[in-house]
């Protein structure tokens, strides 16, 4: 009996160790390993980039949990231009994103991060926008009158208060009290859920990324339509640890090169289906 118990205990311990080691290995699979330098090369500085990989098509994961998307192609292209640095990607959730940058757990943040005065005062923010997130109103298909915020007086629209667009809508309401919309605050509401709320009449409109609308409709085929008017065009950027001034300058220079030589336009077309730099 004693012998049997020991065998069971040994088996369970071995299984636990295997699982932990397997999981440790897989949890790091998304990280880009830094190549070991040859004796003549200067070792590359690893820049740890934190991101919330749930922002398709900008940053998300493939079936094997590798982080992919517009931002990753952009960062890989920048990486090629900066031989002294190498990027390592870390998937983090929103709750730990900014604190991770502040305490040095990561060196840079990416993923549809909006620019504002507070962030520019606190972090190193490249002066060049690395992309734009364009959203339009989605309304019931028989509502042809609602196309922009100007048509939303007293109408209900769901929005996550953590999103950049929430602040844009609040500012609109403050500036246009006679046309103020009713913002239904919902944490973590997905774009698909927002569209379902419009389809079943719980809300009058939803603010949806233009590149996401068709994808969601392919899956759900809801009785809604997207307005042709751009409601929000959010420029976004990366946030860098303020101590990395030399890296920040080189990063900005590399990003400008990629915009000038058309690489960013190609990446935009690949992931979003249009060139977001065409008008800028």
């Amino acid at each position: 009996m004693k012998m049997r118990s020991r065998k069971i205990l040994a088996g369970v311990t071995a299984l636990a160790l295997c699982l932990v080691l397997t999981a440790c290995g897989s949890s790091q699979s998304a990280a880009t390993p830094s190549p070991s330098p040859s004796p003549t090369e200067t070792p590359q500085q690893v820049i740890k980039v934190g991101m919330m990989a749930t922002l398709k098509p900008f940053v998300y994961t493939d079936d094997s949990d590798n982080i992919i998307g517009y931002d990753i192609d952009m960062l890989n292209a920048i990486d090629e231009l900066l031989p002294d640095y190498t990027f390592e990607y870390q998937n983090l959730q929103f709750s730990v994103l900014f604190t991770s940058l502040e305490n040095g757990t990561v060196d840079m943040l990416t993923g549809t991060i909006g620019r504002n005065a507070e962030r520019e005062a606190k972090y190193l923010v490249p002066s060049i926008d690395s992309g734009y997130v364009v959203s339009s109103l989605v309304v019931p298909e028989d509502d042809t009158a609602t196309n922009s915020f100007d048509d939303m007086a007293g109408k209900k629209i769901p929005m996550d208060p953590a999103r950049y667009e929430y602040n844009v809508m609040k500012e609109y309401n403050d500036e246009h009290p006679d046309k103020a919309m009713v913002i239904v605050e919902m944490a973590d509401v997905t774009q698909a859920d927002s569209m379902k709320m419009v389809a079943d009449g719980r809300c009058d409109a939803a603010l949806i990324y233009r590149d996401s609308f068709e994808e969601i409709q392919k899956e759900l085929d809801l009785p809604v339509r997207m307005s042709d008017v751009y409601a929000v065009k959010q420029p976004y950027c990366q946030l860098i640890n303020p101590s990395l001034t030399e890296f920040g300058a080189k990063y900005e220079e590399a990003l400008q090169t990629l915009i000038d030589n058309g690489t960013m336009s190609q990446i935009s077309v690949k992931w979003l289906g249009y060139d977001m730099f065409a008008d800028n």
Partner: protein, 232 residues
Amino acid sequence: MGKLFSVSYFGNVIPKLLSALPSTIGIVLASLAFGLVLGFLAAALRIRGGPVMSRIAAFYISFMRGVPLIALMLLVYFGFPQLMSFLGFEAGSWPKYPLVIASFALNVSGYLAENMRSAYLSVDKSQFEAAHSIGMTGLQGFVHIIFPQAVTNALPSVGNTVIMLIKDTALAFSLGVVDIMGKAVLINARNYGARQVEIFVAVGLIYWAVCFVLERILDLLEKRGRKPLRLG
């Protein structure tokens, strides 16, 4: 209008979610192993630690049970590298998986300590006297008489604690560790949340199935422990 609940999507997503099961079970087993050691120490000090150590153990148990798990996770995730930096080690390069396990182990140790303490105290004092009366030492009496009874008494409450731990692992993704819930969030993001209901119904069923298997194992162990010894 598309289907509100797609059975085929539901069927397809289950194997994808199950690919993260080893990660969840790994977190549970490793946290449980460390939690049992910490919990045993805390319970032993609480019972026999003397006036000072007993109070320290009581404070530890109270703190670990009283602090919300997500707060403890953030404390370990951000605090541990700072502590290491303070002690002269490199900060900021600690892998997430061990830090997640450490958070869960600390949290569950508080509950396990109380499970063990109450199980130990539930064994009648006459059992100690009986062990003494047949010439056993204190340690022999504990190992052969008290411990087997305490373990059987502890099984239901330890089972509850482990079930709670299994469900709590869903928070691991807050720090980016991809467990079952993390996998669900990533899959959900890939299609903009269009099939959220199917994904999270599947997640619920997987967690329930894991807990159901554990309940059955604990039932069997409990029945076995309560079987009277056959003499001769």
